[in-house]
Amino acid sequence: MSISAPVVSAAERVDERKLVEGIQERFGPGVSISRGEGGISISIALHEAGLLPELSKCLFWEMGCSWGGFVAEEHESHWRLSYVFLASRLGWIEVLLHVPSGAHRIPSISSGVHAADWHEREVEDLFGLSFEGHPRLGDFILHDQVWPEGVAPHRKPHRKTMDVQQTHLRHRPNPDWRPLLVVQDPGAFAMPVGPVYEGGIGESLHFLLETVGEDVVRAIPRLFYNFRAVEKIAEGRSVPEGLLLAERFAATSAFAHSMGFASAIERLRNVEVPERAKRLRVVLAELERLRHHTATITDICGSTALAVAASQASIVEEELLRASCAFSGHRYLFGLNKVGGLSRDFGAMALGRLQRSVNEAAERLHVLEDRLYFTSSFLDRLEDAGVVIPEKARDLNLLGPVGRASGQGHDLRQECAYNEYETYEFEVPRESEGDGYARLRVLFQEAYQSARMITQAIDRLEAGPVLVPEDRGSSGVGMGWVEAPNGAALHWVRLDNSGRIERYHAMTPSFNNWLGFHVAVEEFAFQDFPIILATFGLSATECDR
């Protein structure tokens, strides 16, 4: 992949007037620009499908926008395709394309915006739409050993309960399906890893390590073993039921995702969350980030077989889990978010205890960090392991700590504020090396920043309600965004006239970052593989949904 257009860093502020005028000048009568709905700032409606690749490329490479995600929606007579971009500190930009139902070929944008690659494959697999010019379609979410080609389970006629056996009546799956191998040297072979591996306590993932002997040339992950079709299950359900699903598809970021879903509905219904709930949401979201990063640090120490450090980090993790449970009644912060605020309030005593636990955890992490940086055998394993250069990170739109370790990775708390994050004092750490060591440093720094924000939020708490009463009538589209521990997450929801979910789409940071994982695993030694995997800290289940 070569980058032809000049690289504009995504972190620079995007000027709205310049952007709108620039687009109008280039694409003139082909587009009409308007205000978007449900959290989208600018909506660019395309009249001509052919302009799509050029426009997305222009937004991503020339206007300095980052890639957000892709929402496909099936309506009675047409498809509504919405390509979401983030303009830094300006808001979300949506490129809207309506395609008549019969026409199933849509120009692919992923040759210009590489980050959109998997998003298009997802839609192709689940909706049966075909993207012209896409380099690789086919086996993706629906594994070809299990699912026959031509099944589109997310389309309206496919019933939720129609199981795989029924799809076999017309077509047969291919039990002998094998992935394409790229390395063709004499003696080259592929070593399969997974989906059940790592003593079992790894998530279900499959890797094909292509090698010619000692070194691995490349490793291609195969995901979606955990695909549970959360979006399809949510269809036709009520909002509280949808919230349960959003909370439970990736439990290590449960609070972030339930907050994303809840804020999508809040935006759709124009609900203003009370001040106290906003601040408590910051406390809980940062608590989750602190715990999540501690868990990732535990895994990194474990992957280098530094047993004492792994044990010490896991002590901090368990203590944070216990503090979360003592504070909220659940170790993974389930059942707290509600549309319009939080399901419960917290007393001053409980907040004080939480504050002490958080301070203690941050102190312990500081001690651990100091010692780790003096452990040369540990650093030797991390340095230069799984390097992602900044240009690649921008190209593939890497998010969260992984992107920030390569100097990229927009932070929605800063770029597109929600929950009044702009009033908090915090820094977004960035490194430029893009190796495992840089990722570890970013994780530690982010954990400290989270502890800092918890203190600020608790200090500012004022008495008041934590929940506004729900109104159930409204329909329409809403988008919620949240900086989940792994990076930016978008939750896109459409409610029908009866207030039930018509389409729900979660665009998760892990989905984004797994696409970039292959860049980090090129030309490396076998024994580095678990280390690179651990420093990425990605979640398969968050990707799979």
């Binding site: 073993y225 299950i233 002590i315």
Partner: protein, 253 residues
């Protein structure tokens, strides 16, 4: 790097006294809703109405809990005028089938049990809690429980998640590769009843529809001590909880 040695020593022993003594530390378990007596039958009906997974069964002014369905959304605790009673324990493993008594692994396995964990569509929480069993607080090695990477050496199969369609094959292969005697433990609400995912084209709605399940550890996710209790039941060092039978009486009445 001797400082790691000192660092470890300085932090002292953190390991729980369980199973010799109960662990009463705050935060080791989220607890669970239990059978509750309400003021009148309408209140009891409201409790079962608010439960999204049908885990609360009401009869008269009494509500019982089918713990295998409970997804810990806490709605029966936070959104009712009278909340369900809550008990902060963790020994809640139940037998897989109502018809027959649970038979533990033979005595030779008691101090050396090898466990295979399969993630069959889990959300990550149950898996993380299984992982916690190896941290210094729970340290399951002290009880002769070991994780193994190969099904050929495994005695117990821990399954988390509702069994996604793409994992059905790998799960069955793992099970078939295990030598007998073997025990299957379904960990978490999803593995027991499908949880919030239920039975769909992509989820089998629980391990029970794919494999014979010997033990169930309810919870979403069950805390590490509950999973530990399940493993101790499998090796015959603890006995399964009887709570489920109470709930079924409430359901049939």
């Amino acid at each position: 790097m001797s400082f790691w040695f000192w660092h470890g020593l300085k932090n002292g022993i953190r390991t729980t006294q369980y199973p010799v003594m109960p662990d009463l530390t705050v935060g080791v378990t989220p607890g669970r809703p239990v059978k509750t007596l309400f003021a009148n039958s309408q209140e009891a009906e409201r409790a079962s109405g608010i439960c999204p997974t049908g885990a609360i069964v009401s009869h008269g002014n009494e509500s019982a809990v089918l713990l295998g369905n409970c997804v810990h959304c806490q709605r029966c605790r936070t959104s009712l005028p009278q909340a369900m009673d809550w008990r902060e324990d963790y020994e809640w493993t139940i037998g897989g089938s109502d018809q027959k008594e649970f038979e533990a692994l033979p005595g030779a396995y008691v101090r050396s049990t090898h466990i295979m964990v399969v993630d069959a569509g889990d959300c990550g929480a149950c898996l993380r809690e299984v992982k916690q069993l190896n941290n210094p607080f729970y340290n399951m090695h002290r009880l002769g429980l070991f994780l193994t990477a190969t099904p050929r050496a495994a005695d117990v199969l821990l399954v988390v998640g509702p069994v996604s369609e793409n994992m059905r094959g790998p799960l069955l292969k793992t099970y078939e590769a295990m030598p007998t005697p073997k025990k299957v433990i379904a960990v978490g609400a999803c593995a027991i009843s499908g949880g919030v995912f239920g039975h769909t084209f992509m989820s089998a709605g629980g391990v029970g529809s794919v494999l014979p399940v010997d033990l169930k550890v309810p919870g979403d996710p069950p805390p590490p001590l509950a999973i530990l209790h399940g493993l101790l039941v499998a090796t015959g060092r603890k006995s399964p909880s009887r709570e489920e039978s109470v709930a079924t009486v409430g359901a049939s009445a």
